[in-house]
Each structure stands twice: as structure tokens, then as C-alpha cells.
């Protein structure tokens, strides 16, 4: 080991790395803009990543098919029996279906007036590092995507926000990321809090509801939505359900563990809200 440090170049390199590393860390702490090099690299890389992601899904579906073959055989028999029963029921339910269809049309019309302007996007890559919970989507500035636009899954379930925008790609910082925070409200009681990513909880796919007073009216199973405070997220996007309630270290407040409404790790497609605060 002494031989290693006999060479002054090695020692100088270590010193240089420490200085440069700290400088880079400080300079990038508030970085929001995408550099031209990042943009060009990702424009080239993202189409190939998209291809690889699709191949990956194909391979996993293929092997999944073979592993499930026995299970499927028994399921087919059960389904055949169920099928004949259902055919009888279909005839009986025809009138109900027509009524349902009409109601659905009315509901869609109503939603059409108040819904957000959504841009559908595919998830093409995850962050290569274990330090960040972000993923890349195949839509960018060319599709009208802008910084901080909220990202949701079906059912207006909050996924995160746009944290970086390239020409044909964007990065989504997900709600479980440690750099992510959003104003939150409990639907049942109206209590407010801050929903934030926590490195300890992120591994299980959960996040934290902080700044909840000790006497706040919260129970396990409560639904948590965005409060609309903070200027990024509109009110009412579903964050998730309370899974655990714990006292804070100081004992003057408490925090809750939230299980997100959507399975973020296995998302394939999302929607970007292009007019969140209209």
C-alpha cells in the first residue's frame, strides 16, 4: 500500500477528486436546466432504450407464458364452466348494459369539461443509479412537456413531476424520490401535511407524510390526495393510502407511511398533465 502512495500523482489525484467532487456537488445542488450535451446524449440513447425496454417486456412475457402453463390449464377448465354461466347472464344484463352505457357517456361529458389536458407517454428507462428514483419518458419539449408538470397514472393517481425536459424525452421525479415533496391532504378528515420521499421507505415503494400534528385525525387506510398548495400539483390527485402511523423522534408530531395508489416500479405508461393549474 505504501508503494501506491509513493507516487505523488496518486496523492494529488485523490486531493483533486475531493476538491472537484465537492465543487460539482455544490454547483449541481440547484441545477434544473438540461445541458446541450445531456440533451444530445439522451436524444440518441432514449430510442435505443425504448427498443430494449420493449424487448425486455417481450422476453418477460414469453417466459412468463411458459411458467404459467400448468396454472393456465386448470384456469381454462374453470373458465369454460364460468363462460357458459356468463352467457346466460349476458342476455339478462343486456338492458342494464345499455343503461350503463348512457350513464357513462354522461359522466365522460362531465369529465371532459373539467379534466386536465393529458399527454400520454411511455416509460422507456429508469435512472441508471440506485440513488435516484426517476424514470425517462418518450415525450419532451417537442410535445409540449414543460418542467414541473405533474405526471399521473390511470385514475389520477399521482406518479411525480417532470424534473428535466429534453427535446424528445423527459425525466420524471417520482413521489418516492428523496428530492420530492408535495402538499397533501387527508380526504376523510381534511388534515394537511407534506408528502415526501424517504430513502428508508422508498425501497419498499412507500413514502412519508410529514408535519402532521400529534392530535391530527388520521387512521390507517385513510386516502391521501394532493392539497393544491405549493404551486405544482392541482388539488385532488390521489397519492395513496396510509399504511402506518408513527410518532416523530421529538415526540411532538407524528408521521405516516403512505403506500402509493399506483405501483410506480412497474409502470409502463403515464399521463403528463399539461395544464395543471388552469
Amino acid at each position: 500500500m505504501r508503494k501506491l502512495f509513493k507516487n505523488k500523482a496518486a496523492l494529488w489525484l485523490i486531493v483533486l477528486v475531493i476538491i472537484l467532487g465537492i465543487a460539482v456537488g455544490i454547483l449541481n445542488a440547484t441545477k434544473n436546466d438540461t445541458t446541450i450535451f445531456e440533451n444530445v446524449t439522451n436524444i440518441i440513447v432514449t430510442p435505443v432504450q425504448k427498443l430494449f425496454t420493449n424487448i425486455g417486456h417481450g422476453v418477460s412475457d414469453f417466459f412468463g407464458y411458459f411458467s404459467d402453463v400448468d396454472k393456465l390449464r386448470t384456469e381454462i377448465d374453470a373458465l369454460k364452466a364460468e363462460n357458459s354461466e356468463l352467457k346466460k347472464e349476458i342476455n339478462q344484463n343486456e338492458s342494464s348494459r345499455l343503461e350503463n352505457e348512457q350513464l357513462r357517456k354522461l359522466l365522460n361529458m362531465k369529465q371532459g369539461n373539467t379534466e386536465f389536458e393529458l399527454e400520454a407517454a411511455s416509460v422507456i428507462a429508469r435512472n441508471p443509479s440506485n440513488w435516484y428514483n426517476t424514470f425517462t419518458i418518450d415525450k419532451g419539449a417537442a410535445d409540449g412537456i414543460a418542467l414541473n408538470q405533474p405526471v399521473v397514472a390511470s385514475g389520477n393517481a399521482l406518479v411525480g413531476r417532470i424534473s428535466e425536459v429534453g427535446t424528445t424525452w423527459s425525466t420524471v421525479s417520482v413521489i418516492t424520490d428523496s428530492e420530492h415533496a408535495a402538499g397533501a391532504q387527508i380526504v376523510r378528515s381534511g388534515e394537511f401535511g407534506i408528502c415526501e420521499g424517504d430513502s428508508g421507505l422508498a425501497a419498499d415503494g412507500n413514502l412519508r407524510l410529514s408535519f402532521v400534528s400529534k392530535n391530527a385525525n388520521i387512521i390507517v387506510g385513510d386516502t391521501v390526495v394532493t392539497s393544491g398548495l405549493g404551486g405544482i400539483y392541482p388539488k385532488g390527485l390521489v397519492i395513496g393510502k396510509i399504511y402506518k402511523i408513527r410518532p416523530d423522534i421529538q415526540g411532538i408530531s407524528q408521521y405516516a407511511v403512505i403506500t402509493p395508489e399506483t405501483d410506480i416500479k412497474n409502470l409502463c405508461a403515464v399521463f403528463v398533465i399539461k395544464n395543471p393549474l388552469d
Binding site: K3, K6, A9, G21, E38, P128, N130, Y132, S178, A203
Partner: protein
């Protein structure tokens, strides 16, 4: 020829690290192919080559991660240089176990430095250490096994000048 080989590995890692590696993540932690490649390569090549390759792999990784631009470049440069120096001066005859051990140690240094520069004060160390840092370092060490044999095979053709230190 060497540049082409590094280029192919770089392109492959940039794609796979962000896509297919998710499928082999253990407890949400995936290995870092960039560290594994640079460390293993540096056990077979010169300090200069280890440092330059480390820098280019790092800067490209920074572009894709999109955070702390330059940090991976600086860290992988240092990792490449120091590993090559260590293998040249201290270890006369490397073996897969030694390279796995070097990967484990360098991964710990790399991830600790990354934590100190980017997350200290924001993330609780104990949770980061046991949930991310330690599993990733062990995973990196294990994944060195296949990478070692690929690079060893290639080294016979590409790095013959340092053939005497190959175990």
C-alpha cells in the same frame, strides 16, 4: 481497436443499466456496471488508459443520470487510475477473487463519496448504508465474476503489453 471495444461496452452499459438491469434488481438495488467495468479493466490496463476510460464512462453516465454533472466522471477517473496503480505496484498476479475484493472496496469508496457530496444531511446514513450502499457494493462484487472473464479474454488480444500481471 481498444477504443472501439470500450465504445461498444459503453453503449451497451448505457442502454442496459437503465432498462434490463431493473429485472435483476435485488430489493430494488441494481449493480453498477460502470464501476465493475472500470475497476476490472484497470486491473489489466495502464493507469492512463484506466483513468481516460473512467472519465469517458463517467461523463456519459452523468449525462444520462442528469444530476451532479461531472461527479461520476471525476470518480470513475480516480477509480481507474488508482486501481491500475494498485494492481501494478501492489498486486503482481491478479485473480478473480482479488478483483472481486477490489471492486467491493472501490464500490464502497465510490458510493460513500457520492453520498457525502450529494446527499449528506438529506438522507439518513444508516438507512442509506443498509438499504442501498452495502447491497449495491456486494452485488457489484458478485457481478465482477462474468465481467472479469470477458475482460481477461479480451486482454489477451488488446492488453498484451501488461500480460505478465494477468493471473
Amino acid at each position: 481497436m481498444k477504443v472501439a471495444v470500450h465504445g461498444i461496452f459503453l453503449a451497451f452499459f448505457l442502454i442496459v443499466q437503465a432498462t434490463w438491469l431493473e429485472a435483476i434488481a435485488v430489493f430494488g438495488v441494481k449493480p453498477n456496471l460502470f464501476i465493475i467495468y472500470i475497476v476490472t479493466l484497470s486491473c489489466f490496463c495502464s493507469k492512463k488508459e484506466g483513468a481516460i476510460t473512467g472519465f469517458f464512462f463517467g461523463i456519459m453516465l452523468d449525462f444520462v443520470i442528469g444530476k451532479a454533472l461531472g461527479l461520476n466522471a471525476v470518480l470513475l477517473l480516480a477509480l481507474g487510475f488508482l486501481t491500475a496503480q494498485f494492481c501494478e505496484k501492489v498486486i503482481r498476479k491478479n485473480s478473480v477473487l482479488i478483483v472481486m475484493l477490489i471492486t467491493l472496496i472501490t464500490s464502497v469508496c465510490y458510493e460513500l463519496f457520492y453520498y457525502v457530496v450529494s446527499f449528506v444531511g438529506d438522507l439518513e446514513f444508516k438507512s442509506v448504508f443498509f438499504r442501498t450502499l452495502l447491497p449495491e457494493c456486494i452485488y457489484n462484487s458478485l457481478m465482477t465474476l462474468p465481467v472479469y472473464f470477458v475482460i481477461k479474454k479480451l486482454s489477451n488480444r488488446l492488453w498484451v503489453d501488461k500480460g505478465e500481471i494477468i493471473g
